[in-house]
């Protein structure tokens, strides 16, 4: 922009109408928001009120005044007689550049993703399927306006790189995450949670590449902790692992779509799952922290996501245990079945304890650590039952472990979460994938702005 004085106005503002007769005789360039170029200039300068006086010197803005204040305008133009016939002061009006729809349209132009033009006769939803951008369910077309609105959910810059997404190892920006969050059906306020999920998934520890490529069932299970869960209306109560809550459904889906679209991870290609699991559409829920007898899975009061490589939900029924020892034995039996009852240590598990089961432990004063150590002990078995051929089953550990006592899970391999509706003496076991260096470790990331 050339050096000089500018005034931003539009045709709807009475204060602009008031000052307009003065403008013809002043050394000022009129930036009219009723023209597209004027609107773009106003947006670029971040003008939120008209009229606004701006002075550019040496290529940078050096002075700005908002509304009509006679003394300010007289000083700005060095004209002590300016506007003598006008009132001393009139506030300005809202600029068009900050009207929500206009702002989204203008902000959309600044985005860097490739533009894809659809034919006018093409159905928008079908077009998304045709281009391979869907997980099999309809997606929301990511128009620049929608993506711009999505980006209003974060303070992070659209061009900031969030992660390098496997399997294609593509640098993924905040903007690309936002595009996929639109596809998934997210609201802008979910975006920081999705960003944290993408960061967690693309760590070496979580190993999203291996998790995608494996023939095993697993895919990311997202547990959300902290105040953000309530703020964005997540579900941790009735049907917490099920359908029907937009935040739960679309945050998990957005993560899957980032891996599919940005990372190039598609079933039948790098995704080699033999059977997969329905959680590969989306698997995300919040922890019931208020109703929990225990400390949260993660966050310590801050908002955080924890990703776990889970294979699906298996229900555990125990409607009769009123003593923690009895209930722990039930849960331990169910946990032994993860992957295969004769395979140990290689697979982690997440145990989702419902309120009615948690009540038994609360009443008995069992801490989460107590429950975990009891479960680890109860799931430790003699190697003689686990070796190949034992029980008439070929699957099992190699010979040589007969004399050992073997834990089902490694020390940190049992994650305990509290969620679910108030009625029902059920809990859920979510089996993990191979842990450790060759597999996936649970990863927690704080949710930022």
């Amino acid at each position: 922009m050339d050096d000089g004085a500018y005034v931003v106005v539009n045709g709807e503002c009475p204060t602009c109408a008031l000052v307009r007769p003065l403008l013809g005789s002043l050394p000022v360039v009129v930036v009219d928001e009723d023209t597209e170029s004027g609107l773009e200039t106003s947006f670029g300068w971040g003008v939120d009120t008209v009229p606004t006086l701006v002075r550019i010197a040496g290529g940078v803005e050096v002075e700005r005044h908002v509304g009509w204040l006679r003394e300010e305008w007289r000083a700005f133009f060095g004209d002590p007689g300016l506007g003598a016939e006008l009132p001393e002061y009139r506030p300005g009006c809202g600029a068009r550049a900050v009207e929500p729809l206009v702002e989204a349209r203008l902000r959309g132009r600044t985005l860097r993703s490739r533009r894809v033009e659809l034919a006018s006769e093409e159905d928008e939803i079908e077009a998304m399927f045709d281009r391979g951008w869907s997980d099999g369910l309809p997606v929301v077309p990511p128009t620049p306006e929608r993506v711009a609105r999505m980006l209003s959910g974060t303070v992070r810059s659209p061009d900031e790189v969030v992660a390098v997404v496997p399997p294609d190892l593509v640098e993924c920006t905040v903007e690309k995450v936002a595009v996929n969050a639109v596809l998934a059906g997210c609201k802008p306020e979910y975006l920081p949670v999705v960003l944290a999920c993408v960061e967690a998934a693309c760590t070496a520890e979580f190993n999203a590449h291996g998790l995608l490529a494996t023939t095993y069932f697993s895919s990311p299970v997202v547990v959300v902790n902290g105040p953000v869960a309530r703020r964005i209306g997540m579900n941790w109560g009735l049907n917490a692992l099920g359908q029907g809550n937009r935040a739960n459904a679309t945050i998990g889906r957005a993560l899957q779509l980032v891996i599919r679209n940005v990372g190039g991870g598609r079933p039948g290609e790098v995704d080699r799952a033999t059977l997969g699991n329905p959680g590969k559409y989306t698997f995300c829920f919040a922890e019931d922290e208020e109703g929990s007898p225990w400390e949260p899975l993660a966050g310590g009061g801050a908002s955080a996501v924890t990703l776990f490589a889970g294979d699906g939900v298996r229900g555990v029924v125990d409607q009769l245990s009123r003593e923690p020892e009895s209930l722990a034995r039930s849960l331990a039996l169910a946990l032994l079945a993860v992957a295969h009852p004769k395979l140990v240590v290689a697979f982690d598990a997440m145990l989702v304890v419902s309120p009615e089961h948690a009540r038994v432990f609360r009443d008995a004063g069992w801490s989460k650590d107590r429950l975990r150590s009891e479960l680890l002990a109860l799931t430790t078995r003699p190697g003689s039952e686990l070796v190949q051929g034992a029980g008439g089953i070929a699957e099992g550990l190699p010979a040589g472990f007969e004399g050992a006592q073997l834990p089902k899970f490694r020390e940190d391999g049992l994650l305990i979460v509290h969620a679910g509706g108030g009625a029902g003496m059920f809990s859920a076991v979510i089996g993990g994938w191979v842990n450790g260096e060759t597999g996936s470790m649970p990863v927690t990331r704080e949710v930022g702005g």
Binding site: R114, E122, P142, T143, V147, D168, V170, V262
Partner: protein, 92 residues
């Protein structure tokens, strides 16, 4: 009004879809003849149309508004939904 969306992918592949493999035979296929609107291209395509029609091929005709610009996205969509094969030709 034309809808524009932002590409959600890593942008490693071109947006345009790749050409299909050339069919072994035109039997039962719908063949589009695309005139790019360069002088006398229609002469060539008219003769091609006659020859194909003699063999019982279902021929449809299309034309770009001008040879100087790429085919409009609507025309490309129309051809892609109405034809199995397209022959684009000019005779200058």
């Amino acid at each position: 009004m034309t809808v524009v969306v932002l590409d959600p992918t890593g942008e490693r592949a071109p947006v345009e879809r790749q050409r299909l493999a050339r069919p072994a035979s035109l039997d039962g296929l719908r063949v589009g003849l695309l005139d790019i609107s360069k002088a006398r291209g229609n002469v060539f395509l008219d003769r091609l149309s006659e020859l194909l029609a003699e063999r019982g091929v279902d021929v449809r005709r299309y034309a770009k508004p001008t040879f100087t610009k790429p085919a409009p996205v609507d025309l490309r969509h129309e051809i892609s939904t109405q034809c199995d094969v397209v022959i684009e030709a000019l005779a200058d």
